[in-house]
Chain length 172, copies 2
DNA sequence: CAATTTTGGTTTGCATGCTAATCATTTCTC
DNA sequence: GAGAAATGATTAGCATGCAAACCAAAATTG
């Protein structure tokens, strides 16, 4: 747990340094990147894609919009949804933005042998799945490592293929 | 990186559930636990021990103090330092507090074979060291896994054995 | 011993990030 | 089609978490 907190703090610091480079924090960058992947998408889809809650996404989008990187336009069909449009400035900023990884850390990673990097990634994803699965049944715990890797993004950001009749997991 | 963010979020959620149990968040619990380990210690030592920055520790201590779990008493020798005393109520709360790990996640861990748990831990600590080391030279990157594990807590929470003439690494 | 620097804590300002509550709109039910 | 339930987004309120600025006390320097 201590190691996890150290990592969290380090990631946070990375994010902050990122700001000095391109004016974007980690979550903002991730959101912006995700937003311009498959055209305008509702905010909730973005939230699922980057594993954030609705209100958090609202805040991030507000900051992105204040800087003119995205625009929120209410959907035509569903007037509730807010489609996130990436502005040209947003695209440009995204192009200029460095990788999400600090150069130093990136360099450190490249010095490691490939198998070790893969092992790390596998381990992180496994832990992530393990911790994500706390709400669900114990079933995923029986999955093999290979399955865990495959189940990284279950059905997160599909805008139209999302099952329409599943109950929402919002408040119970 | 996505996996890391997922883990961070999951840890955060754990922390929030923890509140419902004993009224303490993860960082608060870690701080309180660390505070009652070796008697009253200055806030800065606690901050180093739990890998947090000074201002953050100030906020956490303020909340802990507001709930009567700790008391801040200025040191006699060095009037700048703030010694953190754990109150009886704090001790009691700490005793009632569950482990930092959510039961579900804990159970999931116990179902894993020991070697896998150890591998995970090793991996996490290695990553933490890697990311922590970004400020320093590239030297730590050459350390073996064994060294990384040994260097988990370099000199974090030693109250009196801390080298007195080392330059501070605050802003430069 | 006075002036400077260093050091320990706090305050300020900002960005995440959550849950609970709220609003608007859509969909479902009768 | 009117009322109820569900859904998408936002708001309110709180807890981290940081850096920069700031204050007070100690150590250093002259």
């Amino acid at each position: 747990m201590a190691a996890l907190r150290r990592i969290m703090r380090a990631v946070d610091l990375h994010s902050r340094r990122l700001v000095e480079g391109c004016g974007l924090t980690g979550p903002q960058l991730a959101t912006l990147r995700e937003a311009c992947l498959m055209g305008p998408r509702p905010a909730s889809a973005l939230a699922r894609a980057v594993h954030l809650s609705g209100p958090t996404m609202t805040g991030i989008l507000s900051r992105l919009e204040r800087r003119g990187l995205v625009r929120r336009i209410r959907g035509d069909a569903d007037r509730r949804t807010v489609l996130v449009h990436v502005t040209p400035l947003g695209l440009e900023t995204l192009a200029r933005a460095p990788s999400q990884l600090q150069d130093r850390f990136r360099q450190a990673l490249t010095t490691l042998p490939e198998w070790e990097r893969l092992a790390m990634l596998s381990n992180l994803q496994r832990i992530a799945s393990l911790m994500d699965a706390e709400d669900l049944d114990a079933a995923p715990l029986l999955m093999s490592e290979h399955d865990v890797l495959a189940a990284d993004e279950p059905d997160a950001d599909r805008p139209d293929e999302a099952s329409p009749s599943l109950p929402r997991s919002r408040s119970g």
